[in-house]
């Protein structure tokens, strides 16, 4: 078991618990089965009752140092050993080491004649002997209801079973009693009446030809527990339960940033990239480059030496490697170093829940920093949109609480699910990158837009998204009279703009030159005017002086004359 428990909101409470060792189960029950009490596990044929109880015993014996007795009313020791061999457990070895004791109780009605009153003391003695001989702390009675087929007197059987469960409790062993699912009651013979502490229901459903196993804790006296149906998987590593339906929104968030692997995209996302532990949603119509964005992100993670899981639902591993190599992303290198783990399956390979469990299990085992799911939309093939949404919610909560940054891609079909995708999953996502297929002038171009990104200022502009054979590039788009231009028209527009600019520059030069010329012209004219003026000035000044001199001279002369004539000044001056 992992040390860090997933927060599920179920506290162990005051009731002592016995860890079942079943992955996920202890989390929904706040620690496991009620210690020292019997638990009823009910389910129809093939729902996994025997494996559940066997796993409980084996985990107890191997991980918790609690030997166990398996009292089987159906299969014998050899059959059981074969069954659990599929879980990688050597039951014969465990029996030999006295960790587990298997007691096969065979009841054949045809061999038995009932000749009066009896009790099941023989069973008690057998069980007691088995428990004592290995010091068992755990007991399983696998389909004790088989006894109903072996004995005619149901009254005796019922009172004896009641006594048996009481006896098990008094003995202080933690026990699991399995029972066949009944039509109206939980078990066919109403065992739930006698086992009052904890009742677990296992279910096996097939929808759209895909089977899903589910587990539900019907009742757990004196303890809080998850009341939902939890999907579980019987894998080669035992029973695996997904305990996350009830996760709260109380995970810690990080303000650390994770580069997207595309520098221009980082620039659009406030200059630093995504938040660590956030969920990123990349949507786009076919061929818009969702996988490329996802791969760039995965590769960048590997370059930082962070572990990454890539769930590919569309392409095989090799196909993905080849395709991404064409845009200069070499994923196979990281696959070889073990940093990148690619898990490629078809969505229809198993039920939705099984995919979910696989995603959990791998995350649990590999402990990646980055998870890519490409594409999530394919899962709608195996589940209805509501289920997919709830699954996504659970998955995201789980990953977030483990600080795993997750990138989901989703295929949009134009017009068909564009809106539903928007409403359905948007609220779960922190960053939404939309890839657009823009078709104009007979060509197809890719546009990229950050539709939303919680908690950061992000660019609101569409960028042209180019896949070259070396890298992924983001280019500014051109705007011409309110129309966004991309691809060749963007190039044409750029050329046009270039020409315009040249022309403008020339015009400016020309005007500057003209201005200069005018200025020079003006200066020249000013100079010549000044010369002219100077000449005139001199001319005029000298003539003015001459006139003044002449004027003075004539006054003097007149005075002389008057003196000579001795004339009256007044008259003469007049």
């Amino acid at each position: 078991m992992r040390k860090k428990r997933i927060k599920t909101g179920f506290s162990p409470g005051s009731r002592p618990k016995c860890p079942s060792g079943i992955k996920g189960f202890d989390e929904i029950t706040g620690g496991g089965l009620p210690k020292g009490c019997p638990t009823l596990v009910a389910g129809s044929a093939g729902s996994g009752k025997t494996l559940f109880s066997m796993e409980f015993l084996i985990r107890g014996a191997l991980d918790h140092g609690e030997p166990g007795v398996f009292m089987s009313f159906e299969e014998n020791a050899t059959e059981l050993a074969q069954n659990v061999a599929s879980l990688g457990i050597d039951l014969e070895d465990l029996s030999a080491r006295k960790k587990i004791l298997i007691d096969h109780v065979r009841v054949e009605r045809s061999e038995i004649e009932e000749t009066g009153e009896y009790d099941l003391e023989g069973l008690f003695v057998r069980l007691s002997h088995a428990i004592d001989s290995i010091g068992a702390r755990r007991v399983v009675l696998d389909t004790v209801e088989s006894l109903f087929g072996g004995f005619q007197n149901e009254g005796i059987l019922r009172s004896e079973l009641k006594r048996l469960f009481r006896w098990l409790k008094d003995k202080g062993v933690t026990s699991v009693i399995t029972g066949e699912r009944g039509e109206k009651t939980i078990t066919r013979h109403g065992l739930e009446e006698y086992v009052a502490d904890c009742v677990i229901l296992l279910d096996h459903r097939v929808t759209a030809q895909i089977s899903t196993r589910r587990l539900r804790v019907v009742k757990y006296r004196g303890s809080s527990h998850g009341a939902n149906e939890y999907p579980f998987l019987i894998s080669e590593r035992g029973i695996f339960l997904v305990p996350i339906t009830s996760m709260g929104l109380d995970y810690e968030v990080s303000s650390e940033r994770v580069p997207s692997g595309i520098s221009r995209l980082d620039a659009m996302l406030g200059g630093k990239g995504y938040f660590r532990g956030s969920s990123i949603f990349v949507t786009g119509t076919p061929g818009t480059g969702k996988t490329s964005i996802a791969s760039a992100f995965a590769e960048a993670a590997c370059r930082r030496r962070e572990k990454c899981i890539y769930f590919a639902f569309e392409e095989s591993k090799d196909q993905l490697f080849r395709n991404m190599r064409s845009i200069g992303i070499d994923l196979s290198r990281w696959d070889r170093t073990g940093l990148l783990h690619i898990h490629a399956t078809r969505p229809t390979f198993s039920g939705l829940e099984e995919h979910l469990i696989a995603m959990h299990r791998l995350a649990h085992e590999i402990r990646p920093k980055i998870i890519v799911i490409d594409p999530i939309s394919n899962l709608t093939e195996v589940g209805d949109p509501l289920e997919v949404k709830s699954m996504l919610g659970r998955l995201i909560d789980h990953y977030k609480s483990n600080k795993i940054t997750t990138l989901f891609t989703s295929l949009l079909i134009k017009g068909a699910n564009e809106d539903t995708s928007r409403e359905g999953t948007s609220s779960l996502m922190d960053t939404w990158i939309q890839l657009k297929d823009i078709e104009s002038n007979g060509e197809h171009n890719r546009g990229l837009l950050v539709l939303k990104s919680r908690g950061m200022s992000h660019s609101n502009q569409v960028r042209e998204f180019l896949l070259t054979d070396k890298e992924i590039r983001l280019l500014n788009v051109s705007l011409s009279s309110g129309v966004v231009l991309m691809g060749s028209s963007r190039a044409a527009q750029a050329a046009q703009e270039e020409m315009d600019a040249v022309r403008r520059r020339e015009e400016i030069e020309r005007r500057k030159w003209l201005l200069e010329r005018k200025r020079r012209e003006k200066d020249a004219r000013i100079a010549s005017l000044e010369v002219e003026f100077a000449a005139v000035e001199e001319d005029l000044t000298s003539s003015i002086r001459m006139e003044e001199r002449q004027g003075k001279a004539s006054i003097e002369t007149r005075k002389e004359l008057a003196k000579l004539r001795k004339a009256d000044n007044k008259t003469t001056t007049r």
Partner: protein, 116 residues
């Protein structure tokens, strides 16, 4: 106390009975849970039947399950009291206090069914 009730020395008798080609000797094992009234009733009933119908050709061993719990698994005993007819074949099991004599006699092939 009960487990000490051995009406014949068992091993020798068993060998003898197994060798008895006519299948006339009965090997019987009665498992009881201590000295309860039910156990005693079963023992009394069985002894009576044996004496009346098998006289000298039976080997009965009464086993207290508390004393020999290890035997239970091999014999597939769950209920008590359980009577097992080991020989002659086929093996038969009777559970209960053996109050229904007719059923036991039928089961032990001591009563022909057409007798009814």
């Amino acid at each position: 106390m009960v487990d000490k009730i051995k009406l014949k020395s068992s091993t020798k008798k068993f060998e003898k009975a197994a060798a008895d080609k006519e299948g006339k000797t009965y090997i019987l094992r009665l498992y009881v849970a201590g000295t309860t009234s039910r156990s005693n009733k079963a023992i009394t009933n069985l002894k009576r039947i044996c004496e009346e119908h098998l006289a000298d050709r039976y080997d009965l061993e009464v086993i207290n399950i508390y004393r020999k719990p290890a035997l239970l698994e091999g014999e597939q005993v769950i209920a008590t009291p359980t009577l097992i007819k080991k020989l002659p074949l086929p093996m038969r099991k009777f559970i209960g206090d053996l109050a229904n004599t007719e059923k036991i006699l039928l089961g032990l092939d001591l009563l022909k069914k057409d007798w009814k």
